[in-house]
Subunit: 503 residues, 4 copies
Amino acid sequence: MPDASFAETSPETAGGGRQPIVTGADYVSSLRGRGLKVYFMGERVPEPVDHPVIRPSINAVARTYDLAVEDPDLATAWSSLSGRRVNRFLHVTESVDDVVMQNRMQRRLGQLTGTCFQRCVGMDAVNSLYSVTYDIDSARGSGYHRRFREFLIRMQRANLTLGGAMTDPKGDRSRAPSAQSDPDLFVRVVEHRPDGVVLRGAKMHQTGCLNSHWILIMPGTRLAASERDYAIAAAIPVDHPGLTYIYGRQSCDTRALEGGEIDQGNARFSGQEAMILIDDVFVPFECVFVDGETEFAATLVERFTGYHRRSYVCKTGLGDVLIGAAALIADYNGVAAASQVKDKLVEMAHLNETIYGAGIAASHESKPTSAGNFEPDGLLANVCKHNVTRFPYEMARLAQDLAGGLVATLPSEKDFDNPETSAQLRKYLRGRDGVKVEDRARVLRLIENMTLGRNAVGYLTESMHGAGSPQAQRIQIARQMKLDEKKKLAAALAGAGEDPGRS
Amino acid sequence: MPDASFAETSPETAGGGRQPIVTGADYVSSLRGRGLKVYFMGERVPEPVDHPVIRPSINAVARTYDLAVEDPDLATAWSSLSGRRVNRFLHVTESVDDVVMQNRMQRRLGQLTGTCFQRCVGMDAVNSLYSVTYDIDSARGSGYHRRFREFLIRMQRANLTLGGAMTDPKGDRSRAPSAQSDPDLFVRVVEHRPDGVVLRGAKMHQTGCLNSHWILIMPGTRLAASERDYAIAAAIPVDHPGLTYIYGRQSCDTRALEGGEIDQGNARFSGQEAMILIDDVFVPFECVFVDGETEFAATLVERFTGYHRRSYVCKTGLGDVLIGAAALIADYNGVAAASQVKDKLVEMAHLNETIYGAGIAASHESKPTSAGNFEPDGLLANVCKHNVTRFPYEMARLAQDLAGGLVATLPSEKDFDNPETSAQLRKYLRGRDGVKVEDRARVLRLIENMTLGRNAVGYLTESMHGAGSPQAQRIQIARQMKLDEKKKLAAALAGAGEDPGRS
Amino acid sequence: MPDASFAETSPETAGGGRQPIVTGADYVSSLRGRGLKVYFMGERVPEPVDHPVIRPSINAVARTYDLAVEDPDLATAWSSLSGRRVNRFLHVTESVDDVVMQNRMQRRLGQLTGTCFQRCVGMDAVNSLYSVTYDIDSARGSGYHRRFREFLIRMQRANLTLGGAMTDPKGDRSRAPSAQSDPDLFVRVVEHRPDGVVLRGAKMHQTGCLNSHWILIMPGTRLAASERDYAIAAAIPVDHPGLTYIYGRQSCDTRALEGGEIDQGNARFSGQEAMILIDDVFVPFECVFVDGETEFAATLVERFTGYHRRSYVCKTGLGDVLIGAAALIADYNGVAAASQVKDKLVEMAHLNETIYGAGIAASHESKPTSAGNFEPDGLLANVCKHNVTRFPYEMARLAQDLAGGLVATLPSEKDFDNPETSAQLRKYLRGRDGVKVEDRARVLRLIENMTLGRNAVGYLTESMHGAGSPQAQRIQIARQMKLDEKKKLAAALAGAGEDPGRS
Amino acid sequence: MPDASFAETSPETAGGGRQPIVTGADYVSSLRGRGLKVYFMGERVPEPVDHPVIRPSINAVARTYDLAVEDPDLATAWSSLSGRRVNRFLHVTESVDDVVMQNRMQRRLGQLTGTCFQRCVGMDAVNSLYSVTYDIDSARGSGYHRRFREFLIRMQRANLTLGGAMTDPKGDRSRAPSAQSDPDLFVRVVEHRPDGVVLRGAKMHQTGCLNSHWILIMPGTRLAASERDYAIAAAIPVDHPGLTYIYGRQSCDTRALEGGEIDQGNARFSGQEAMILIDDVFVPFECVFVDGETEFAATLVERFTGYHRRSYVCKTGLGDVLIGAAALIADYNGVAAASQVKDKLVEMAHLNETIYGAGIAASHESKPTSAGNFEPDGLLANVCKHNVTRFPYEMARLAQDLAGGLVATLPSEKDFDNPETSAQLRKYLRGRDGVKVEDRARVLRLIENMTLGRNAVGYLTESMHGAGSPQAQRIQIARQMKLDEKKKLAAALAGAGEDPGRS
């Protein structure tokens, strides 16, 4: 008997039985009344859509829907799978250009939201599962690929938001899943039933989960043959009663509760990071896409990260915002023409475009998979992400340099409103003539937001760890750098034997 | 007639007519009941000592008093000026060793508080005014030096905390003080009276002001001969009724209001940054140490920054804490033995000691001034601070790398306390065996605190702008790098004429 | 009356009246007997083809011909201009793929030669002149484009090597061409005749000039309207009697004269840098492509550098060699498995691919010009080159790290041959078991060659200054970074007015 | 029976039986006629003093003698050991100031020679053997310390140059000395005789060996208890017949053979790197200072590197020259006032002084050893050297940037002298008005010399590997960074247990 929660939240009705979602407003409506178990700061959140701390992360996803309406060439694509235009975040890449367009859309959304808009994990999970299920079927004669296509078509028709969940708690990181003191520290199948599987565990750092409609659970690490229960990929509706969400704290998160707008820096948009507890959730087989094929776990991870590490060009959109903010504050301070100021802005742009270059190059160098969809160049994708673990930090440093100390000492907007202090603050906090004091404060708060505050989580820490921490990229670069070929090149020019015994 | 506020708060009684301050507790008591006009988030603060957001910054200064009791060799010195041991923060350097010991004390206090302990501005102001007043007297026959010594002896006897205030609002930064649309954008004398001067203006980014007893107002920039009214150095008691303090916001400041401890990361200690409004404050001549000698403004700034830029070795104490925290979390995660982890810790230590090297070298290379006190090598001091504008950012990046993504996604401590979520959080957020989940959370919060949160202001932004923004150091390095001598060295080895026409 | 030298060296016969050049050997033959006036180390070189110092640079160009034979897909293209397959270095880009394929060919030739193969300037000059002549004609009704196409068809048919010459001596670099003490410090027209122009001046740092057949002279800087005589682009046969070549010295150049092979590191291949003196050379109008249109000088420079800065992905081919050499020597030393060794190789590869990413991205993002050929994205091209001014230096540093001190202390190969020392050297200079001492020496010499020696000129110094020094890229990045758009993005998110009065 | 060679070259007479050496000229004379077996480029060198390639390295050492005459405060010291002023390079440090003065002398000599002056190894070997022999005697009751003092007094009296030899060939670097296929790959005792020991092996990369009078052989690595034969420290006269020297090649070394001066860049001074073959050399016990005490090998290495890594502040003297050269060429090119030029010079100076800061700090923080001499702070010494493995490379990069492409394309000085090309070269290679073309060429050659040419070996490669390669410093930093203390600091502030079970 299928699990009730899946029937209730079947893709077609996950938006509440309504028409397919079109606009951001539709999307926001679709999230209401789902009865999610969400906890934040020790309390259950009655309706996440209306929670001031959570809402900005919902707004960011809503922006992706609105962009699809405003600029369909950029944010939608014709899907031969479902025979209709679909949101690009749900689209299986059918050409090199499709992969490249993902990057263009990502940068644009980064520019428009100044934060993580949270839909790339789902997009990249779709594309990697598409080909991995195909490959498993080819090797094993299983039927995952058809299942997955059907699942996806239903998502596309209803235009739902699909999250992806890969990172397990991991416990002692020096140990494999099966060697942990608690076997649940990696998500696993605790029971096989005739019609499906029961999952237990947790997923960490889930960007955009409780504002999604469905979540794709995937393994996050290479597995040994004996670790079959950990080799599971499956879709679960976000409002399944067996799921609990613990909303993570972010720097300055509670400024959203203070009633003002300026001190938030970017009041409209933020990312979202939550922990998902999976408490013995039954998943019917129609929603199971990998089940025990341990040898494909590493393939799935590698293929997913191939897409996802290049998806971090989104951060160049945030970088555009930060460069703009740094230029504005320098202008407000009257120093826009100083050579050192211009030079620092150029350096920021150079670093930002260096990230973009490697990312868009990875996409341009896409190749078709056996399943027919296109995947980016793995080496360049890793190089892109690896630069993302470095350059935004340097750009944030330069932005703080240009901002001046006020970025960290500015009084609250409430002090600007307080009649006892307002006049003096406006007198003394002016910049060059013609600049409104409030504008200066707003731009400073935006820089604070992106370098120390709420969106610093998305711009810095997530840049470090999202899609894998730096060392994960280095391992992939080591694998893909073709060292033996390079040794042969050197040996040929030096006139040396290249010593094939080693690599 | 002397201003009443000065009489009421004369040095001997600034601590409330009590005995000299000895312990941190004495110091905290001395701050109570001063009736300061302090505003934070739109409201007047009734008693700053008891305000949860402000108190940690008071605790940090209190720690300096306690260290003087615990380790008098480190944190006090024999003063030939007042003929007694005095707190080192009030001590006029009488030897090279005195300058070096400042650095040792600063690093230690950085280790003990993990934040800015806020007394270095005063210490460095004392030492720079000591010699500049001497030089002005030598040139002008004025009597500033004697006044300043007397003032200082009273401070030392009462063992008060002395702040320094240098940074003006500056308005359009491309314009000189006298060219601003509002002449008050740099602190200035608005009236000369027979017995003193009346000051107006504001000072920005005041580290440790409302937890001081007196503040030394000083010019912050080079002045033209016509800008006499801006050439003013004077001492004002912090509780003067003409002063108003607007407490600046810091990242995550309101976590101190939430009632818990863990989420603050470093609940006990923080820095303090406020804006001081000076509303026509009369200062009697006995507290005036520069008055119109514009040609000494640049000297004072340069001499102060000579001391102060090297004082930033304090950040190596914070760096020690951050390295330790990164090592702890790696250990908790079970990866302490991984070569990449060890390598990143070494890199952090290398950068930290590089800062220390230049700072302590500047102190070791101190020379006596005409007034007899010792001042550090200016070039190395600037080099030290310039590295401080770079390396802590890289160290913060590495610490976030080692921390893992949880540093920015960890649930609130209240979720750990909530019975609905507590058990699951404790199950899934464990590290390697033997590590308490709460310890792991605490260390992650400390890293968040220092890289994104409250003390990131002190560790990063203040490292950037305190004692002058990076470009200010570059200008000083350019002045002191002896380029003409270097050109001669090169010309001699190359056998070229060195072209004396240019530099 | 046309200048005799042009008739004698008309494109069809520049190869000596023979058939079109096909192989590298054909090419080398075509260079013989041209009677060039070449000076090196104070003496005229009788036959450059046979000069040991010059020959390796000829070999590198010869390699480009051989590659066209071995891999025509990579190194040739179908030209609709001349209706035949042509060498890619002479090809006008007809698609995005044509631009991308240039990069692939460049990287491959970098791998095969380990040095600068010197033909990119000509290729990039062809493509920029192709569209600029079209634009001038459109604006002025001139006939340059037709002339240039005809010239180019003749080049393609004979399969000649075309050099490009842009960099003038420049004298006082703070002054414009017309403001120099000597007007000849930028190449200029000293006489207009009815049938052509007479040129005078010099071109500096000419990579691949005396091993070319023809040279395209172009202006190298923005020109004022009054500087018409400096706005000249023209083709001159390399063996024109009015040209003199002074061959520049390169680090370790004379090792090629010592009779051995190992000490050269890369004995077969090198770059070539010479100064060309242009002593009143008459150029008939059929070889003149810009003549006085000063307003197009900057366009030509910018368009050329757009191609050429992205052409520096060639250095990633050299980087591949250097990475391979570093891996080999680590292996020879028995430390290939050490984590720090692997990590440094990964870092080298990461930097190398970061360069490649921006370059290949610039090519992938090519757009058609009005003339119909394709040109790369200017911003990414500049970003690529700017990374080239940094990363090869860091890669060289890492290669020296991995090489060990022996890279700079190794005895001469002659000491290995000397019976008095040979046995001892072979005894003591062995690496791990199974490695030939001579192989170890060869690889060390290759690393020396690329980091200190002859090809360090091509790998490092040319990476710095070729296609414009770093500041030239920063100026272009500043122009193309769309700062006003970025300011608008930031202002929108901050809720601030973006202050349109400034940029 | 003592070995004849030791008698012949006893310290008192090593200078040929003459008076103690005083001037550089005395020193040069003392090197003549020693009959050394020196090989360079396959031939035995009849008289090294007169060999154009070798002489500049002798000149550099001679400069150390002349400095002692010119500035005795800087380059000599009063020795309580021999009761006289002695050359500082032979002086046992008797105070903190003595250690600091070494650094000042080193920087000055770097400025005066622009290269490695080769005497620091000996100086640092003296100081480390001084205390290690003392410690061995204390532990073992041996008599090494007295022997060493007597040896040293004789050196001081005769004012001889003492080299140090530490680096063994090492073969397979992953294996210990006793695990090599050939046991001679580390220097070892092959025979114990009643009156001394017989040594065999080789020492690599010997900076300043054949221009020394005596050489101190020391172990270069940690040894196992079973590797007693490798635990040997001893003094051997340079002209011992059992020693053979193979002179290493350096970039551009043979320019010294061309007869000119300009192309050498720095014609007077260079470093020297040679390999020493030790062919069963008998050393009488009076010259043996460690013999089998394996447990002190690591101590000796660590103590030596403590001195020697801080000795690399010498490179800041070279840095001064390079900064000066970069400033000169910018001036010659007419761009000295450009903001980007000034900024790059400031950056170079900042990096240079950062090196100096850590080095001089290590010296200032010296502590007395049990033997009574002073040794620098080990952590800061390692930090100093580690920066030396990075910053000179970046400074070289910046110098090449400022130099312009001509640094690698400049014609030979012989072309300037050739009447066929001289006038044209002088016409076209001028810089701004008033600058001599030859001066411009000379400064460019100096920059080439230091960044690609002969002294790039000393400024770059030796900076990388001298006193231990980068990884060696990282290991020492790891050992000395007091990670456990730092963990405790972090745990205290976070309120966490610090988990003493791990480090």
